[in-house]
Each structure stands twice: as structure tokens, then as C-alpha cells.
Point group: C2
Chain length 283, copies 2
């Protein structure tokens, strides 16, 4: 690395930012402007965790789904309980922070919002290594669980939820096979016979939001008690695909990405190349 | 709704939570425990926004990618500038809050982390309606833009980045066609000839993280100045699919979900049913 060139370019960068015209003048000219990270005035993560009651969180997830959709519902259900049971610094986390992640990102049907919000809550109270393990477990559970859970269905049937749902009927359960909103909702629609714009689908996602938040808390409680044991294993189909298609450095093998869900949820099997059969039977 | 039954069930819920045994005793018995939302001690969203310099944010996004991966990189790049230029309450947002969303959720290759983090930053400073419009625009731009941008490539080539990247070479650009990490990375690998485990792919995602954060700030600046005009349109292929497969109440039409990306990124066209040809030419 040419240190002189780097130093020069950094000076150029500072100068450039101060010369920015118009609306940015005040910002760029502000005396606090530096390239270093801003002073962190809040304690560094992870913050204190105390074991929470998954059933309170499950009910709050359902409740908050109807106030702020899926991602905010799951995130707020956990953080709200931490605000009550721990207090600061959780009280500095604003409500509606995750409202953008609704419907797989403002309705784009990508990542399930409940998973997104609950995972961020896990991340607030665990270091990176533990967060990675617990979030991985939450995602794996989500792809394989029958949702909405029996517990959520019974809360609805017995009118035990904190807000009135779209329906109090027991809802059909489905397995998503994926952490994507698109697959999760579509699979449930196909199994249940309800389209995605129905009150029943909305209620299904409300119950699921509570279930995901409750599962996150169960994992966090196990982690706090030192009893957490991961049980999720990458499905055998995906393991097979990953023998070639993993994160690696071999372009010819197609090492472009790495999935942990069954590839067949989206992809048809591709024709086998000659090079593949050196290791694999044709699939 | 049977109000008496609901009230009874709520009392049961309170009682149930107080009777929870073992590790949850302290939590459930805490005097602050209520079913209402915890007192929000931080100002409600949206928080104050001042126009930021997209080029500072672009460079910080690249810098923070190498400290905390893609999602944290994009989120922190914007929030860090707001900490510096606004201060509280942004200073209460902890670093590493979005570290879990790395690699499409702890390496699950689902939602691009840069998009996740940058969208949350947008959401901090806009109300729900505006956040939805701006995030929608950011996502649409992401699916169609050539990334990494020319600007990011030139910062690298000219050694203007704030941290040393994995390479200072100009990198091949690609269009993701999707907001998923899996598609975005795979498309770039195919175009560039680099596998996903290479230093070049990592650097590509670092530059892209800066680009996404910078784009979010450009949109926020336009919004603050009253000049924001959405330009993203759902691709014609997806519009065609959505004439049947939208969010609706018609199960027979397959109204299960709603996508805004080209369906062909993942799906082959399906055989036409007789009912479809009442409106459509076969596809």
C-alpha cells in the first residue's frame, strides 16, 4: 500500500466534503464532522438479558403485529419485555423501528419480517458468536416448524389473545421450508385454501409473529441458563447441493453462494455435468 | 366478541404469568410487569434528519463492512453520520445492532444485508408512509443498478477508501435482478468469474454496501428537500405475473403472495390453465 497516496487521498476526501455545496453546507461544515465513528454514548452490545416468559412474548407478538406488522411485532414483543424487566438501555430503542421490514420488506415478500425482527432482538443481548448460533437455530426451526403453533391456535380459540384477531378459529398449519415471506405465505395459502389477501392469512401471520418471538425467547432463555443445544441440521437435499454449491473459491464448481434451505423450494435440479459425476451420482 | 370471556381470559393470563416457576420467578413477579407496552422513554419516530453527504456515507459503508459485514455496514454508515450531525437520540443506537443480518441472515443468503440495514436507517427518520415509499425505491434501484458503482470502483482504484479493501482493482459490475443475497452474489460471480469465497467477492460486497447506504442517503436528501420522485416501476414481466398472482382473495387465481421482482429469476413459466387464457395470451 502506498501510504503517501492513501494519506493524500484522505486529505482530498476531507476537502471534498467541506466543499460540498448547497443543502449540505451546514452538515459538511459542522465542527463535529470527522471520519472516525461517532462517540457511542450507549453501552456496547450485548446488553443485559433476563429470562422472559415466552407466553407473554407470544401474546405480545400477536398484539403488536396488528399495530406494526410482522417484523415490528416480533421485535417489539421481545424488546418491550426487556424494557419492562431490565429498563435502560432498552428504553432507548424506539417503537416502530422495524416497521419497514413488513411483508418481507415493504411488501416485497422477501425475508419473513417476524424472523428479521426477532433475530435483531436476539442480537441485542448476545455477542456475535452466540447471536449467530441462536439466529441460525431460529431460522432452521422456522423452516421446519408447523405454524401457526398449536399454542397460538388455542390462544385464539379460547379468546386469550390480547387483541382481537381477524378470526378466532383454529387455523391450518403449514411448514414454510424457507425463511422467505413469499414461500412461507404461499405454502400456507396452498395448504389452507385461503388467498393471501384474506383475513385468515393476516391472522395466520399474526399468530406466526408471536410464535417466532416466543421461540427466540425460548432460545435466549436456554442460552442464559447454559442449556442451549442446537438441533437444526441443514436438510440432506441442501447438503447434497452444497457439496458443489457452497461458499468457496472454485468457480468451475459453481461456488457462488451458500444456502441452508432446500434448494428445490425454488430450483429444479439442473443437468449433471461430466465433472460432477466424478464425485456424485446423477441427481 | 364475548367481552366477559375475554376479560376472564386476560385475568387468567396475568395469573398464569405470575405463577410461572423457576427461572422466571423474578421476571414474572417484577412490579413493573404489565401487559401494556413499556413506557417509551425515547422520542417517537421519525427522528430528525439533516441532509448527509452521500460520499462520506459511501466510504463509511465500505469501511464498516469490514468491521461488521454488510447489514451493519450500511446501517452504521448512515446512523454514524446522524450521530455526528444530529447527536441524540441517534447516539442511543448501539453499534453492531445489525450484525446478525450479515450474508442474508447469518449466512443464509436470503435478504441482502446492505438493503436491510439501509432500510432500517431510512425508517428511523421517516414516517411509515414515507419510509414505505423510500424503501420501495431503494429496493427497486438495487434490483436494476449496475453494482458496484463506478464511483465505488474509482474510490478503490484511487486508494480513496477509508480502509484497505481486499483489492484495489476495478471490479466487474452486475445487475442483481433481486434483493436476495443469493441472487445478487450469484449473478455477480457468474459475470465476474470469481467464486463467492474469493477476496474479490468480499470486496464487491463491501463496495456495494457503501453504494446502498449512499443511495439511501440520496433518497433521504431528496425527501428532505421535497424533490423525491419515485422512478422504480415493477418490471413488465412481474406485472404480467401479478395480474393473477397478487395479494388478493381469489384462491383459484393463485393469489398467494405478491412479488415486485421478475418471477423468472427463480421460477420457470408454468403451464397455462384454461381459466388463464380468458384474459391472457399463453406465456
Amino acid at each position: 500500500m502506498d501510504e503517501k497516496k492513501r494519506e493524500l487521498s484522505r486529505r482530498d476526501f476531507f476537502r471534498g466534503s467541506c466543499l460540498t455545496a448547497g443543502a449540505l453546507t451546514l452538515v459538511a461544515g459542522a465542527p463535529k464532522l470527522t471520519l472516525a465513528a461517532g462517540a457511542a454514548e450507549t453501552p456496547p452490545l450485548p446488553w443485559q438479558y433476563v429470562p422472559l416468559d415466552p407466553e407473554i412474548v407470544r401474546k405480545k407478538g400477536h398484539q403488536f403485529y396488528f399495530a406494526g406488522h410482522c417484523a415490528e411485532g416480533a421485535f417489539r414483543a421481545i424488546v418491550d419485555e426487556l424494557k419492562i424487566n431490565v429498563g435502560e438501555p432498552f428504553t432507548n430503542i424506539p417503537e416502530n423501528m422495524f416497521i419497514y421490514a413488513k411483508g418481507g420488506m415493504v411488501g416485497w415478500a422477501s425475508l419473513c419480517g417476524a424472523v428479521n425482527g426477532a433475530s435483531c432482538a436476539i442480537n441485542l443481548v448476545t455477542n456475535e458468536d452466540d447471536s449467530t448460533k441462536l439466529v441460525n437455530e431460529l431460522l432452521g426451526w422456522y423452516t421446519q416448524a408447523l405454524l401457526p403453533s398449536d399454542t397460538s391456535n388455542q390462544y385464539a380459540v379460547n379468546l386469550e389473545y390480547l387483541v382481537e384477531g381477524k378470526t378466532s378459529a383454529e387455523l391450518v398449519q403449514s411448514v414454510s421450508g424457507s425463511i422467505l415471506c413469499h414461500s412461507s405465505v404461499t405454502n400456507w395459502c396452498k395448504v389452507s385454501g385461503y388467498a393471501s389477501g384474506t383475513a385468515e392469512r393476516s391472522e395466520r401471520c399474526g399468530r406466526l409473529t408471536g410464535d417466532v418471538a416466543a421461540k427466540a425467547v425460548e432460545l435466549l432463555n436456554q442460552h442464559a441458563e447454559g442449556t442451549f443445544q442446537p438441533v437444526f441440521e441443514i436438510p440432506s437435499e441442501a447438503q447434497y447441493c452444497r457439496t458443489c454449491h457452497s461458499k468457496g473459491t472454485d468457480y468451475e464448481l459453481g461456488q457462488f453462494t451458500r444456502g441452508k434451505m432446500n434448494c428445490g423450494v425454488c430450483h429444479d435440479p439442473h443437468p449433471i455435468k461430466e465433472s460432477c459425476t466424478q464425485c456424485h451420482d446423477p441427481h
